[in-house]
């Protein structure tokens, strides 16, 4: 998943801070639930505004960008290859691709590019530019953060060139996957991982990182001022379709959320991500001027499903039923979350609002299930794990107390540093439920189900493995239409929600403040950031 690094509460930790990802919001003039990129701005183009941003990791090569801050900047500077509609899950060809066509068994994908595309420096955007970038990205020598996205392509990760990537002509190239995968088009809508690269950029990557050469509606105005700011300005020769309303956007970086909010009060920042630290103060002062929108991030508790007593399915269900999610959201998270009804979060196409039978609060049923399970609640202590200093202390304790109250199981909270947490995760050494989060790489239910609960999934630390579940996901991958694949993914989801290797807790909500001088502020669920290009400035 993409890491969110807001205000640097240790790399990833911030991502899931209080489940609200400390990050952008949206709304503005539309009531769009977010994510629909077709929301037309109403204001006039022109003008300039500033927004807060956390220092990105890398800007070039784009394939080294795997967190929300660099992708927010790169979204301005780069055109995507293709986008995904969050309502239907279908591809939208508003980027560089004219068409993307799979063969019958979804293994060979042909990408045709639009005519006459250019980089900011005048180099053509052709098949070679993509081959150059993708081959660079997959090569382990280059240690690119998004190299994993290339893993499905034949021959990836073995040398300087992948055997599965071939140019047909200047405008067309062919991608051969090592197995059928119907969601490959959707996967390519994570723009940074699949961006082309200019020859000038690959020749001097260090210089390019300071001032990326892109293909998008904006180009860098001066160099990247590390930990201070990044300014982008409209590219006069832009031929693409992405919205670019303001002439200039200045991104400012702040060490502490409070400093960012003070600068917002001072008029120095027009668009501000309202971090949890300042939410109550900002809410008190700005009230309804704060826009709150759902994000696609999921917070959940995982079980070590091979450890007794957590290998007992009914115990897992009972624990889930004994947690009052709504109460925790209201009292601890300031209302900034939505209780889970599915593993797939609401903004993602194919998500369901009634899928999770055991996600409701029902203490009586929880007690009955505990009794049926035959587990003696006094025979063990529930050890609840979370990573320290990332805002999880309060809600994990609240959840543990509810479990204690409703089921009579004593608890112990265990917190570790993030690096140590990851080691425990990778080694599957947890001896009790553990907190984790997930957000999308690409908008597909598959991107939640397979990594979290699939056998050997990238983020499956529960030890859970169910061949029936895996089989349904594979069938979904191979389905001919999106509708069929969503149906199959839903069946797979039902199995996981019944056996509960993880308890879905809630999906995040983000808060954003916008000054009077800007309009059309909207949160883009896919990017996990505000849609900066759409913002208009009143002049």
């Amino acid at each position: 998943m993409r890491i969110k690094t807001h205000f640097r509460v240790t790399a990833v930790a911030a991502a899931f801070a209080l489940g609200l990802t400390a990050c952008g919001g949206g709304g503005g003039t539309t009531d769009d639930p977010g994510g629909n990129p077709s929301g037309e701005p109403t204001g006039e183009p022109g003008g300039s505004y500033s927004a807060d941003l956390t220092e990105p990791t890398f800007l070039a090569p784009a394939s080294n960008c795997y967190e929300s801050e660099c992708s927010a900047v790169l979204k301005m500077v780069n055109d995507p290859l293709v986008s995904t509609d969050f309502e239907t899950g279908e591809l939208i060809f508003d980027g560089m691709a004219e068409s993307i066509e799979p063969n019958d068994d979804q293994t060979v994908w042909t990408v045709t590019l639009k005519e006459g595309l250019m980089f900011h420096n005048g180099e053509p955007v052709d098949s070679d530019a993509f081959l150059r970038a993708w081959n660079y990205s997959q090569n382990p020598k280059n240690a690119q953060a998004t190299a994993g996205f290339m893993a499905r392509i034949e021959g990836a990760g073995k040398g300087p060139e992948m055997s599965g990537l071939k140019a047909v002509d200047d405008q067309t190239f062919e991608v051969t996957l090592s197995g059928p995968f119907s969601q490959f088009g959707q996967q390519m809508s994570y723009a940074p991982a699949f961006a082309p690269i200019a020859q000038e950029c690959i020749d001097d990557i260090k210089a390019c990182n300071e001032s990326p050469i892109g293909t998008g509606p904006y180009q860098m105005d001066g160099k990247w001022m590390h930990d201070q700011g990044i300014t982008v300005t409209k590219w006069a020769d832009y031929q693409g379709e992405l919205p670019a309303n303001a002439d200039t956007i200045e991104f400012k970086m702040f060490t502490a959320p409070t400093a960012a909010y003070r600068d917002y009060q001072n008029g120095g920042v027009d668009v501000l991500n309202v971090a949890p630290e300042i939410y109550l103060e900002a809410k008190g002062e700005l009230a309804d001027a704060i826009l709150e929108e759902p994000t696609a991030s999921l917070t959940y508790l995982g079980f070590p499903t091979k450890e007794a007593p957590y290998d007992n399915e009914q115990l897992r269900q009972a624990i889930s039923l004994s947690i009052d999610r709504e109460l925790i959201i209201e009292k601890v998270l300031n209302g900034l979350a939505d209780a889970s009804t599915d593993i797939v979060t609401p903004p993602i196409p194919g998500s369901r609002d009634d899928a999770c039978e055991f996600c409701t609060y029902d203490p009586q049923r929880a007690k009955d299930l505990l009794e049926e399970s035959g587990v003696d609640p006094s025979s063990f202590t529930l050890e609840l794990y979370f990573n320290a200093d990332s805002g999880h202390e309060l809600w994990t304790e609240a959840a543990a107390r509810q479990i204690q109250e409703n089921l009579g199981i004593d608890y112990e909270l265990k917190s570790t540093e993030w690096a140590q947490y990851l080691e425990l995760l990778d080694g599957e050494e947890f001896t009790g439920p553990f907190r984790l989060g997930w957000s999308l790489d690409y908008p597909s239910p598959e991107n939640y189900l397979r990594p979290i609960v699939g056998t050997g999934g990238d983020s499956n630390y529960t030890g859970y493995s169910n061949p029936e579940f895996d089989d349904l996901v594979v069938q979904g991958d191979e389905a001919a239409t999106l509708e069929e694949s969503f149906e199959l993914y839903a069946q797979a989801g039902d199995i996981a929600l019944e056996e509960m290797p993880i308890i879905p807790m809630w999906s995040g909500t983000t808060a954003i403040a916008a000054s009077d001088s800007v309009g059309d502020v909207r949160y883009d669920v896919g990017d996990g950031e505000i849609a900066f290009g759409e913002i208009t400035v009143s002049q």
């Binding site: 998943m1 993409r2 890491i3 640097r8 509460v9 240790t10 790399a11 990833v12 991502a15 220092e55 990791t57 890398f58 795997y66 382990p140 020598k141 280059n142 240690a143 690119q144 953060a145 190299a147 994993g148 893993a151 990760g157 260090k206 990182n209 001022m225 590390h226 930990d227 201070q228 702040f254 060490t255 502490a256 409070t258 400093a259 960012a260 003070r262 600068d263 009060q265 001072n266 008029g267 120095g268 540093e417 993030w418 690096a419 140590q420 990851l422 080691e423 995760l425 990778d426 984790l436 989060g437 997930w438 990594p451 990238d458 983020s459 630390y461």
Partner: protein, 334 residues
């Protein structure tokens, strides 16, 4: 004098080596106990192992000793010394040179330090002298009361209050107003503004200097009162010297020795970056660099910057020791 300085310079070497080794051991232990910082750059789903291995090699974190808890990794330490000796302070986790990072930020911190130092020394000594000369009078009571107040307030409270009331409530109308001069509005700022590299550091500088100001005022006062009672002051008075000469030349100069000692330590501390103040006013200084590096477990930055700061601290204290001789004729260095 020359020999004294040379001897002190030689003494720097074991101090720097000791500091480096201590830091090295701490950073190695952190990695051994807390876990692999390269893995922590990523989220829940690990990237392919080949990528992690390559990154570990890039950052010199691929030594096996980093997996054996308690192993001080002496070989890594020797490598690092050789690297530092050649002027290479390594790269951070984002591939940027540590020396470059430091050079980018040091001027900001120096500016902030200068403002704070000038403020605390001038105002602090002035208040101290006023209070010392009028012991137990109104001025003295005022200085004593206000300095206790300044010392009692933690800097984050003081800084936040200054930012809210001076920067925002007072400064914002000034900045918006057509009539008020621009420099005034920028001086009462909320956050650092690179377009006004000195003016927008004024308020943070004053906040930063406030604590030391109180300390300097009190040190000056006490020291002055004590020296005013000494025999040579009585002799000077008896000789019929004017009171300004008695105080200015014969008393104040040697009363400043504890003050200069304090300032010397303070320079070292201030140049090391004022973490809290820089955080409140969003100043991209050395403190912020170290703070961010600690949060990210970015060992190369922490080690490189702290090494440079150790040297800065040592030099500042050497200068102070040399200053003693200039202030008090009884002190000589041979």
């Amino acid at each position: 004098m020359g020999r004294y300085v040379a001897r002190r310079l030689v003494q720097f070497i074991p101090v720097i080596l000791g500091t480096l080794f201590l830091l090295h051991v701490l950073s190695v232990l952190t990695i051994q106990i807390v876990g692999d910082p390269v893995r922590a750059l990523f989220g829940e789903n690990a990237p392919p192992e080949a990528i992690l291995e390559q990154l570990r090699a890039n950052y010199n974190l691929d030594d096996d000793c980093l997996e054996q808890t308690g192993n001080p990794c002496v070989r890594l330490f020797v490598d690092r010394l050789a690297q530092y000796a050649s002027g290479d302070f390594g790269i951070n986790f984002r591939g940027r040179s540590v020396a470059e990072l430091f050079v980018e930020r040091f001027p900001v911190t120096v500016r902030l330090t200068v403002i704070a130092l000038v403020f605390e020394t001038v105002v602090g000594i002035f208040l101290g002298v006023m209070a010392g000369l009028r012991k137990d009078k109104l001025v003295d009571n005022f200085v004593r009361f206000s300095t206790v107040l300044l010392i009692a307030f933690p800097v984050f409270v003081f800084g936040t209050l200054a930012q809210l009331f001076i920067g925002l409530e007072l400064g914002l109308p000034l900045r918006d107003s057509e009539r008020a001069p621009e420099w005034l509005g920028q001086m009462l700022t909320v956050t650092y503004n690179p377009e006004f590299p000195w003016l927008s550091l004024m308020l943070p500088g004053l906040v930063l200097g406030a604590f030391s100001l109180a300390a300097i005022a009190r040190l000056t006062r006490t020291s002055l009162i004590e020296n005013l009672r000494s025999d040579y002051v009585r002799t000077a008075r008896a000789k019929g010297l004017t009171s300004s000469r008695t105080v200015g030349v014969h008393t104040l100069r040697n009363s400043l020795i504890p003050v200069v000692t304090y300032i010397g330590i303070d320079i070292g501390l201030l140049l090391g970056g004022a973490l809290v103040t820089e955080g409140i006013f969003n100043i991209p200084g050395v403190g912020q660099l170290v703070f961010l590096a600690i949060q990210a477990n970015d060992t190369p930055v922490i080690l490189g910057v702290v090494t440079i700061l150790t040297v800065v601290f040592l030099v500042a204290n050497l200068l102070v020791d040399i200053l003693y001789a200039a202030l008090d004729p009884r002190i000589r260095y041979e």
